[in-house]
């Protein structure tokens, strides 16, 4: 069948299966219908709930401004789908074009979208993770459990990991007057995502808001009492913190286990796909009927040296889902690349933190507006003489300007005279990111794979090892020693 005829048939009566019924899956389904897909649509999700939004779970929900089971996503349009909720996909038959489900059923497809996202990285010691009072925060069920415990006036909450989620949890606890200790292996919070210069500001934020912040330490063990409730956390510096709630915030693991042995290029880093969201098989050959979108995808981005980016970003899930859906039912000449500029937000301790671009690619940072001391500033990250990213603390309206600098490859250090310039902004300083070859759980962006310009594979273990923490060395992230 000629390609044009095939796509006409596909749009009219094809079968599309979406695995993953969260933000990316829903927005893809809506886009398919909006683009005129009239065939059958099946939505498969391992959680028993219709698509719901996750960012409020660590913000409005923990602050008591929203119920944990009331974050369902609004719909842009009817999608007329068959929903298979509460049933996980367990396997994929690429040749036979079928998805295997946990209940034994097989669902055939003409086009498949993989949007299975990530799950919270569990505490690595299983027995300790089972203790009553030890939580993670990713799903609605996680949020219901944690919310219930926080309402019961715990004596102290102990948060492991000071990335964005850990910091937001600490912020919500403090706002409700709950004592909080945060343990972070790096020298400051948010270091993996934003570097040490900005991390130092985040550390001040924690401490000024009454968080007992312990940096440069790892948690060596969680101790339970005789009836299996968590009682204390032991740290690598020998100290012991008594606590009755522990939240493990060590980042996320990509949901690719179900694809093991399928022949797709899927692993701990996600499912590799091209800029048009088509999945690669393990030989590095692109498929034409399997597409990927959202947190589980990793795709090359021309603005960032064609490196394969994995972005655990809300906005990326939406944008990539829309591109994937469009491409799934379009002939090759009508397809579009996914060229979304990474953007991220976090709200903690009353401060609005946003970033654009890929900060962790930056080797230097320059404060171009405001000041670190006032915690209201814009920092610009430079990479090989050009602007690669920007971060703002309570300065969001300027980010669009910096996005244009990133998109046009503007020179770094920036040359424009700024309107709000302070002494600390006059020169770039090292951005102070951790060596990417050391295991870490912090970054929301992972640079990986090989780029045409710099053919190198950097192995980063997918789990944090309990090795004693080393202080960060301000090395060039592209040249790990």
């Amino acid at each position: 069948m000629p390609a044009e005829e095939f796509h006409e048939w596909l749009r009219r009566e094809g079968r599309i299966v979406v695995v993953g019924a969260s933000l990316a899956g829903l927005r893809a389904a809506e886009t398919l219908r909006a683009r005129g897909f009239a065939g059958s649509l099946t939505m498969i999700g391992d959680e028993p709930y219709p698509p719901y939004d996750r960012p409020p779970l660590s913000k409005a929900v923990l602050l008591g401004q929203a119920a944990p089971d009331r974050t369902d996503l609004p719909r842009r349009r009817a999608i007329d789908a068959t929903w298979r909720l509460g049933v996980a996909a367990t396997g994929l038959d690429l040749a036979g074009k079928r998805v295997r489900l946990a209940d034994g059923e097989e669902v055939p497809y003409d086009r498949l979208l993989i949007a299975t996202g990530v799950r919270a990285r569990p505490w690595p010691k299983e027995e300790e993770a089972q203790l009553d009072g030890v939580f993670v925060l990713r799903t609605r069920d996680d949020a219901v459990r944690l919310h219930r415990r926080l309402k019961a006036a715990p004596r102290r909450v102990f948060v492991i990991g000071a990335g964005f989620t850990g910091s937001e949890i600490a912020s919500a606890c403090r706002q409700q007057g709950i004592a909080v200790t945060v343990a972070e292996r790096a020298d400051a919070p948010l270091v993996g995502a934003l570097g040490g210069v900005v991390g130092a500001v985040a550390a001040d934020l924690h401490r000024d808001n009454g968080v007992d912040l312990r940096t440069g330490v790892t948690v060596t063990g969680l101790e339970g009492d005789s009836v299996g409730r968590v009682r204390a956390a032991h740290l690598s510096d020998g100290s012991v913190v008594e606590t009755d709630v522990v939240v493990v915030a060590l980042g996320a693991v990509r949901n690719t286990d179900w694809l093991a042995g399928s022949g797709l290029g899927a692993g701990p880093r996600g499912v590799a796909c091209d800029a048009g969201c088509r999945a690669f098989d393990f030989r590095g050959i692109v498929t034409d009927d399997v597409f990927v979108a959202g947190d589980v995808a990793r795709s090359p981005h021309p603005l960032f040296g064609y490196q394969f980016l994995s972005l655990e970003h809300w906005g990326n899930a939406v944008a990539q889902a829309e591109v994937a859906a469009h491409n799934m039912i379009s002939a090759s000449s009508d397809r579009r690349p996914h060229m979304w500029v990474p953007a991220f937000w976090s709200s903690q301790f009353g401060v609005n933190i946003k970033s654009i671009g890929v900060p962790s690619m930056g080797t230097e940072i320059m404060i171009t507006q405001g000041s670190l001391a006032e915690r209201r500033f814009v920092g610009v990250y430079g990479h090989q003489g050009r602007v690669i990213a920007a971060v703002s603390f309570d300065n969001t309206r300027w980010l669009e300007f910096y996005q244009r600098l990133i998109e046009s490859g503007s020179p770094f250090p920036v040359e424009f005279p700024t309107v709000d310039r302070r002494p600390e902004g006059r020169r770039p300083v090292p951005a102070d990111f951790p060596d990417p070859s050391l295991p870490t759980h912090g970054p929301t962006v992972t640079l990986s794979g090989y780029s045409p310009a710099d053919r190198r594979l950097v192995f980063t273990p997918s789990r944090p090892s309990p090795a004693p923490s080393a202080p960060h060395r301000p090395t060039d992230p592209r040249n790990p020693s």
Binding site: P48, P50, D53, P55, P56, K59, A60, L63, Q65, A66, A67, R70, T71, D72, L73, P74, R75, R76, R77, A78, I79, D80, A81, T82, W83, R84, L85, G86, V87, W314, G315, V318, A343, F344, W345, S347, F349, G350, V351, N352, K354, R376, D394, T396, R397
Partner: protein, 80 residues
């Protein structure tokens, strides 16, 4: 009604927080915290907030012509 705010787009103009304070509140100078579920009694106020947002960052159920879905999809295994 279900609602979501694209916080990448949100620039903290706080129009929504003035128009529907039961649903949208500002934390600090420009952080928006919102309830993803609003009771029907606030529908009018939310509609006004959606319309007033200078950057059109708010999506809510049943406020535009495209949407014709029920509040929740049907049970697993059946068509929605």
């Amino acid at each position: 009604m279900r609602l979501v705010v694209d916080l990448n787009r949100c620039q903290g103009y706080a129009q929504c927080a003035f128009l529907a304070p039961e649903v949208f509140t500002m934390h600090g100078e420009e952080s928006l915290v919102y309830a993803p579920w609003a009771d029907d009694e606030h529908r009018e106020k939310v509609a006004r907030a959606v319309a007033a947002c200078p950057v059109q960052a708010i999506t809510a159920d049943g406020l535009d012509d495209l949407d014709d879905t029920p509040e929740r999809p049907a049970q697993p295994g059946r068509g929605a």
